[in-house]
């Protein structure tokens, strides 16, 4: 089976077969990362444009590394250095870059739907590197790859996603991906950080951290942003840390072999206690490595690399 879609906009629209295809390919790609010479010629002559309209270090670096290892040419910009500063519309920016004939656009944007909008304007492939509070599919894919590496699969696991669900594209992509692969998904946070009518989705909703984590195989901790406190969604970082911060005490409620994940960057002492962030259950650095593998797999599958090329 091959990936036949033009764009990777989100996991909501993907089948479990497609997700597994990507994850299997990512596992192959990971082998390349362990080599002494981290370069294969697979995507030689292909060009990738990264458009980061929102600050990002790890995701942008991860895409660039992935493309370069596969020998694609990478160009890109961050919004602060682009014509966006001069008031150019997103449409004009995309049409201008599209005229330079790239093969893939990677876009990160603060507006939900920006990746889909981009895809509607170009015949090139579009990979969503995070659009507003909508989806961040490559993050969820790397999260799932990490879980599979440790647990052997997704089906039957219970995964808790803790924190600011309302504003989180990571949460949404994880919900879709994990559900499609047969996990039970729990959403944990105060009502102010839960999106409207979330209970209409087939997820378990917990507003108590202890009960939310109880018996979980995986705890995925979301970054809490100070601006949410300023918006009046919780009274203080202190109280948030006390009630919803994942520490080693509350983690005892989970399975003894629980995995602790975080999409980064972490606020140690707020949503995650320092000893948990760096503790025996934490797999946050593995997530970063898997991020490169997953993005290599997506570029490879979208650009139709031949089945053997990657292993040569």
């Amino acid at each position: 089976m091959n990936l036949t879609r033009k764009d990777i906009l989100g996991l909501q629209e993907m089948s479990s077969e497609e997700i597994l295809l990507i994850l299997n390919r990512a596992a192959d790609m990971k082998e390349i990362l362990s080599r002494d010479i981290k370069k294969v010629p697979t995507l030689r002559g292909k060009s990738v444009v990264t458009m980061f309209f929102e600050n990002s270090t790890r995701t942008r670096m991860s895409f660039e590394m992935a493309a370069k290892i596969l020998s694609a040419d990478v160009s890109g910009f961050a919004a602060s250095t682009s014509s966006v500063q001069k008031g150019e519309s997103l449409k004009d920016t995309i049409l201008t870059l599209d005229a330079m004939k790239p093969d893939v656009f990677v876009i990160r944007h603060s507006a939900s739907g920006a990746a889909q909008f981009t895809a509607s304007l170009t015949g090139a492939h579009v990979i969503n590197a995070g659009d507003g509070a909508h989806e961040h599919p490559t993050q969820a894919l790397l999260d799932m790859l990490t879980i599979i590496e440790h647990k052997g699969g997704i089906e039957g696991l219970t995964v808790a996603i803790v924190g600011d669900i309302a504003h989180s594209r990571v949460a949404r992509s994880n919900i879709w991906g994990l559900m499609k692969l047969g996990a039970t998904v729990r959403i944990v946070g105060p009502e102010t950080l839960l999106p409207a009518e979330i209970r209409q989705l087939p997820v378990e909703v917990h507003t108590d951290l202890r009960s939310g984590i109880r018996g979980c195989d995986v705890v995925n901790v979301l970054r809490i942003q100070l601006e949410r406190q300023e918006a009046g969604l919780f009274p203080s970082l202190r109280e948030y840390a006390q009630r919803f911060g994942v520490n080693s005490n509350v983690l005892r409620e989970a399975q003894p072999d629980v995995l602790v994940m975080h999409p980064g960057p972490m606020n140690r002492g707020v949503e995650i206690a320092p000893d948990v962030a760096d503790g025996e259950f934490s797999v946050v650095t593995e997530q970063v490595t898997n991020g490169v593998a997953v993005r290599m797999a997506l570029l490879y599958l979208l650009l139709g690399g031949s089945p053997d090329a990657a292993s040569n």
């Binding site: 939900s112 739907g113 920006a114 889909q116 507003g132 509070a133 909508h134 409207a196 009518e197 989705l201």
Partner: protein, 445 residues
């Protein structure tokens, strides 16, 4: 100009009658109405309009449009909006004052009225902003604006947030016998919101606008109208609970009326899926339950009027990120077809009730002439074919903007001719040429 409209089905919602017959228009008024125009009366007729198979109705009145002049002429002008109105079967429109500068005093109201006289084929009755510059801090010179031609006061697009200011505006409106048209929205609850709050906004990751934002202000404004005795009209009602609040208020005798728009009985927040910016409007498209409540409110009379909230925007204001896109959609050229197809053919309203909500009711609420088919009434007439099947094509629209959410919709029923002051200001071109040749032959006999 003496014009005879012959053999149409004449529907007069004001008297609740529907009959086949003739209509004679002379000197800007309806001179004669009845079964068969007597030969004596028929002399000196300049034109005979064969309306057989067509409905002849009092001119449709859209009490909620945005004509964008002055200030945003790249979206629409009084001329282009007026042409769109005529093509949609409307003989009169009420433009909202969120212009630049705001239509908030005698000078701007007079400007709108003058531009309408100079350029618009349909009547234009301006509404004046409740507060200067729509800034919600100082009341506008409402009495002066009334003298200049303003027919209503409104906070549309800039809803009054202070209950105190709302109270004073209502008292002042009562003093000068003007209705207050209110856009009901608690802005603190809709901050950064771009669509209805619910499972669809959650899945799309878009900031929601809860229904409570509308309901709270509907409730507050009803309370204040009851307290002040102001004639309150709720604009573009969209939520189930808000409609129930109006229903209860009417039952206890409060002077409150309300309107809805075709988008609220034709679309839901599901239509926003795919980040469809053409379906972004304010109030936002709600849920199926709200849509059902709008239909029920129309059927039981809780919702008095149907307006369009015609909100033209340039292409670049819609072809962009959803959260950046402008709120609103055009409506003048689709409203009649949507009402006939989705309310009348769907069995929710009778033809007479539907026409009444688009003519008689707005005229009554705004205390304007029109909305009646009877001798002596203004010769503002809408003639439409209730059976004409057509497909909404933005490229064919008269409006300067094409931001309709209904492109490609198959509708039944559309305007054939629109007459203002006895003059034909719009006529379906295909039909016009057919009639010319038919009547050419007749006259020679």
């Amino acid at each position: 100009m003496r014009l005879r409209i012959e053999g149409g089905q004449m529907i007069d919602p004001a008297s609740g009658t529907s009959r086949a017959g003739d209509l004679l228009l002379d000197d800007g008024v309806i001179a004669w109405i009845g079964e068969r125009l007597p030969e004596a009366e028929a002399r000196g007729v300049d034109r005979v309009f064969d309306a057989s198979g067509l409905v002849v109705a009092p001119g449709l009145m859209d009490m909620h449009v945005h004509l964008r002049e002055p200030g945003h002429e790249y979206k629409e002008t009084i001329e282009t909006g007026g042409r769109a109105a005529a093509a949609g079967g409307f003989t009169a429109v009420v433009p909202m004052p969120n212009t630049l500068p705001a239509t908030d005093n005698r000078a701007t109201v007079e400007f709108v009225a003058r531009r309408a006289r100079e350029t618009s084929p349909v009547r234009v009755y301006p509404a004046v902003a409740a507060t200067r510059g729509n800034e919600n801090t100082e009341m506008s010179e409402i009495a002066d604006a009334k003298d200049a031609g303003a027919v209503a006061v409104t906070d549309d697009a800039f809803p009054l947030q202070s209950a105190e200011m709302t109270r004073r505006v209502m008292e002042y409106c009562r003093t000068f016998d003007l209705p207050l048209l209110t856009h009901c929205e608690d802005k603190a609850l809709t901050k950064r919101g771009v669509m209805n709050e619910g499972i669809t906004s959650t899945v799309m990751g878009l900031q929601g606008m809860p229904k409570a934002a509308e309901d709270l202000q509907v409730a507050r404004n009803i309370e204040l109208a009851e307290m002040t005795g102001c004639r309150l009209h709720i604009q573009h009602i969209s939520s189930e609970r808000a409609i129930e609040l109006v229903r209860q208020a009417k039952a206890r005798g409060v002077a409150v009326t309300c309107e809805t728009c075709p988008q609220y009985f034709c679309l839901t927040d599901e239509d926003v899926r795919g980040y469809n910016t053409l379906a972004k409007c304010n109030p936002p498209l709600r849920t199926k339950a709200d849509q059902d409540a709008v239909k029920a409110g129309l059927a039981d009379g809780t919702i008095d009027a149907i307006a369009t909230d015609h909100a033209p925007h340039a292409v670049n204001e819609k072809e962009c990120e959803f959260q950046t896109a402008a709120f609103g959609m055009t409506g003048l050229e689709t409203a009649l077809g949507l009402v006939l197809t989705h309310l009348v053919d769907a069995g929710i309203l009778s033809l007479g009730e539907a026409i009444g909500k688009m003519s008689t009711a707005p005229a009554r609420i705004l205390n304007l002439p029109g909305g009646r088919l009877e001798a002596g009434a203004p010769a503002d007439i809408t003639i439409f074919d209730p059976a004409a099947e057509w497909v909404v094509d933005p490229a064919k629209m008269r409006s300067r903007s094409r931001n309709t959410a209904f492109a490609g919709w198959e509708l039944t029923g559309r305007a054939v001719a629109t007459l203002v002051r006895g003059e034909i200001v719009y006529e379906d071109s295909a039909r016009h040429s057919a009639q010319e040749s038919a009547h050419g032959g007749k006259d020679r006999k």
